[in-house]
């Protein structure tokens, strides 16, 4: 990084000031005085996929304040409590500041040169002995676009392995396969404007009030202005969201599949569908059924889509009568009828919103398909204020993991390694021989940790995530990591975590505004920020770390950049031309984010819609132009109800669901360092229904022991917390590093997406 962007800016600013003789700098000084010498910069929030804009106040090289950015269209000045405390997130007392190398049971300080030499030698040795598929990198939806891109280029284009996965496989993969199978293009058609413009909102397995608080506030705001607005919360647990919704519809875990087919059943039965929309824009397909749960190592699945007619689809729906669906789901027949009518009401602008309830699901792809079915049947899609909208959990799950394509099977911009044309295009832009990029995907996240446990993967580098707290069936994978036998684990992070404790080398990283960055949020909005402060001690950013390894492995020529971030971005941008177009880098430095496709200086609010999407021609109205194989039509899928991988029985009679709370983000490594957030919600508890507790002799605040087939844990019982468990269900948040609830979770996954189901497994509940 010969020339830092900050230096460049400073220089040009100084030059400008000089040219102006007295200089407009006075104005700045003036303002600095008013704010006590603070200098302000813009950045997206470090946490959730909402992507709120924040203003970062820096003084004497330290972050001293953060504020919700009033000029940011996402949040219009508002943040949630995590955003308000961003200024404290990077300055915890135990920041990692020096590389550490394992010597027996101790981690010993080392220089960067020693650490990187050791890492490079382990990579070389493993590749020489066991081939390129014995080394791997596991990153996340918190990777900046540059970091994800560099990692993908090094592993796929340099080392020649598809062993790259993000933790987004644990949270977004089903949304991706849902989009791909229905529209043949990832990412939503709508945007956050729909939260202000619609009047009917179905939330499915989404506790927005805690997990996407600012978006939820936009909904509540909309309702305050518009009497017609209805928020209907489908859930298996009564949350803060349910409390503020107009209607809470409790259903039995896994029966969302049946409910959505039931809703479609009524829409088709009563001819409430939009016939001309279906004729013009839809095809029908069915895939395999009884598709399994991925519980065995090396499980493989390939769907076999077959076309079907509308009549055949109607026959498929026939069994999903309101009565049958009611019996399965526990939702009254009347409610199912009412909801179907709301979905189909021509005078209502209907939106569906969902997150982990749908995605972390052994039929995650199917349930994503099924919600699109309802919108496609009714034609309520690709219109302002009327769309299905998948929400994301990480700040750049969309921008990096999905769009850059840091999955084993993917290449940038919706391309896949299995397609020769795609490999050719990638190889050309990367400047590598096409044979370098392997045509076969290797392991998705869960299988990657299984491969490490088996010893098929020897060297694993973890960046910007904490899988040894967040993986399901955790005990197996934690043990696997420390089995020896040539296994070597590198973890880059900013604090000690449950993953760094298993590492052979720990690398201290720079985070957020300690480096230049770029995230893409859930509404296709790319947001750039500049480096504002130095990282502490010797910490360095992950991008530098990856490129440093590349150099030491002899792939330095793949990264010939001077202004690394900008040049990487411009190179990546070449992939996006023709549908997922990104703007030039400079445009993002000035804007509060831009939504792709960005064509002729304009962002796109609604994809596939005439008048908004530059790729839809006049007269086409709506065109799903990315779906070339179906001639620009979206797919309505016949996907049946199939049960969860593990259901409660005599021995393990409760459903266990895991998730998040407002104050703590994911595994709590950052939010856990903020005293205010820790005080507000510091320890994971077990939410349960008071009747269940009474029956088992468990009191509020008493101890309760949960046991699954995979592990057990003791927690404090919470019978009247913010979330209220339904009878027969317990809920535990996964942020707490001292309460590894994921040891109990099953590592069953959706065979199509590979995403595990963290929401459903069977447990025994006892007084402890």
């Amino acid at each position: 990084m010969a020339l830092s962007r900050r230096d460049f800016l400073k220089a040009s600013a100084a030059a400008a000031a000089l040219a102006a003789a007295t200089g407009g700098r006075l104005g700045v000084d003036d303002a600095e005085a008013a704010e006590g010498g603070l200098k302000w910069g813009k950045a997206p929030c470090r946490f959730c996929g909402t992507g709120c804009g924040v203003l970062v106040g820096v003084k004497d090289g330290k972050i001293v304040a953060t504020k919700g950015d009033p000029a940011a269209p996402v949040n219009k000045g508002l943040n949630c409590i995590k955003g308000y405390f961003l200024s404290k997130v990077l300055s915890g007392k135990d920041r990692l500041t020096k590389p550490l190398i394992r010597k027996g049971n101790r981690m010993v300080e080392a220089s960067w040169d020693e650490a990187m030499s050791l890492i490079a030698s382990k990579f070389k040795e493993s590749i020489a002995k066991h081939g390129p598929d014995s080394v791997a990198i596991f990153g996340s939806g918190q990777w900046t676009v540059f970091e994800g891109y560099a990692a993908a280029k090094l592993f796929k284009g340099g080392i020649g392995t598809n062993n790259i996965e993000p933790n987004a496989r644990f949270c977004m993969a089903s949304a991706v396969t849902g989009f791909m199978s229905t529209f043949n293009s990832d990412e939503p058609m709508g945007c956050y404007d729909d939260l202000d413009l619609g009047d009917t909102y179905f939330l499915w397995g989404a506790n927005m009030a805690e997990c996407h608080p600012v978006l939820f506030s936009r909904l509540i705001d909309n309702r305050l202005k518009n009497q017609k607005v209805k928020i209907i919360d489908f859930g298996t647990r009564h949350t803060r969201t349910s409390q503020m919704a107009d209607m809470y519809i409790r259903f039995n875990p896994q029966t969302d599949l049946a409910l959505l087919n039931g809703i479609a059943h009524i829409i088709v039965r009563d001819k409430l569908y939009d016939e001309s929309f279906i004729r013009k824009h839809v095809v029908f397909k069915k895939g395999k059924t009884n598709i399994g749960y991925g519980l065995e190592d090396k499980f493989k699945f390939a769907d076999d889509p077959k076309p079907m007619s509308f009549d055949e689809y109607r026959e498929f729906l026939a069994p999903y009568t309101p009565e049958y669906v009611s019996r399965l789901s526990g939702v009254p027949v009347n409610t199912i009828e009412e909801v179907a009518r709301l979905y189909a009401d021509k005078k209502r602008k209907v939106n569906s919103l969902w997150t982990m309830g749908f995605n972390q699901h052994v039929r995650g792809t199917w349930v994503n398909n099924l919600v699109y079915n309802v919108h496609l049947l009714t034609g309520k899609i690709c219109k302002p204020g009327e769309n299905p909208m998948s929400l994301t959990g990480q700040p750049s799950a969309c921008g990096t993991a999905r769009e850059v394509g840091t999955f084993t099977h993917r290449l940038p911009a919706d391309m896949v390694v299995t397609n020769e044309e795609h490999r050719k295009k990638a190889a050309e832009i990367w400047g590598v021989p096409v044979e370098k990029i392997p045509a076969k995907p290797t392991y998705h996240a869960t299988e990657m940790f299984r491969a490490l446990d088996r010893g098929d993967i020897k060297v694993l580098w973890v960046q910007v995530t904490n899988p040894f707290q967040s993986a399901p069936n955790l005990s197996r994978y934690r043990k696997g990591a420390r089995k020896g036998g040539g296994r070597f684990i590198i973890v880059s992070d900013i604090y000690p975590t449950r993953s760094t404790e298993l590492a052979d080398v720990i690398l201290p990283s720079a985070s957020w505004v300690e480096k230049e960055g770029f995230f893409g949020n859930a509404e296709r909005r790319g947001q750039q920020w500049f480096k504002m402060v130095d990282p502490p001690g010797e910490a360095r950013n992950d991008l530098w770390q990856t490129i440093e390894l590349a150099k030491r492995l002899g792939y330095g020529n793949l990264f010939p950049y001077r202004y690394v971030e900008k040049e990487i971005f411009e190179e990546y941008r070449k992939f996006t031309v023709g549908g997922k177009d990104l703007a030039p880098y400079e445009a993002y430095t000035r804007a509060r984010g831009l939504r792709w496709p960005y064509v002729n200086g304009k962002e796109t609010l609604w994809r596939y819609a005439e008048g908004y999407d530059p790729y839809v021609k006049a007269g086409e109205g709506v065109k799903f132009y990315k779906n070339k194989p179906t001639d620009g039509r979206a797919v309505i899928w016949a996907r049946p109800y199939e049960p969860a991988a593990e259901v409660p029985d005599k021995q393990y009679p409760f459903w266990l669901c895991t998730g998040r709370v407002l104050e703590q983000w994911h595994t709590g490594t950052m939010t856990g360092r903020v005293p205010e957030l820790k005080r507000a919600y510091g320890t994971a508890v077990c939410e349960m229904h008071p009747d269940d507790a009474k029956r088992l002799g468990i009191k509020q605040g008493g101890k309760v022991k949960l046991t699954s087939r995979r592990g057990s844990i003791v927690l404090t019982a919470d019978l009247r917390g913010r979330g209220k468990a339904e009878r027969g269900n317990v809920f535990v948040a996964f942020f707490d590093e001292n309460k590894l609830i994921n040891e109990l979770c099953i590592d069953a996954y959706c065979p199509i997406s590979g995403e595990p189901d963290y929401k459903k497994c069977a447990v025994k509940v006892e007084k402890a």
Partner: protein, 98 residues
């Protein structure tokens, strides 16, 4: 007054400056935004029942009765999105945890 001076300076700068001034302009803009922005919301210094928000909070905080500070934004209903439980100052409640 300050604003007029700044405007004048900006104008001067624009008129006299041949070089691009992007960086300066956006710094100005960010500072302006920061002045408009709200600061960190205060934590809640008293006990709250789990699940309280919105109307329950506004009962006192809408107009500021019983010594409660009046909220500048009664239209925002998801209070606990921004205001979390802080240290409890008054020892009024007889209940234990949670």
């Amino acid at each position: 007054m300050k604003t007029t001076r700044r405007l004048l300076l900006c104008l001067l700068l624009l008129l006299s400056c041949a070089l691009p001034v992007r960086a300066d302009e956006s710094e100005e803009d960010l500072e302006k935004a920061a002045r408009m922005a709200e600061s960190t919301p205060p934590v809640i210094p008293h006990r709250v029942e789990a699940g309280s928000s919105g109307e329950a909070c506004l009962a006192c905080h809408r107009d500021g009765i019983k010594g409660a500070p009046a909220t500048p934004h009664p239209e925002r209903l998801d209070c606990v999105q921004c205001h979390v439980q802080g240290e409890v100052k008054v020892k009024k409640s007889k209940k234990g945890k949670h």
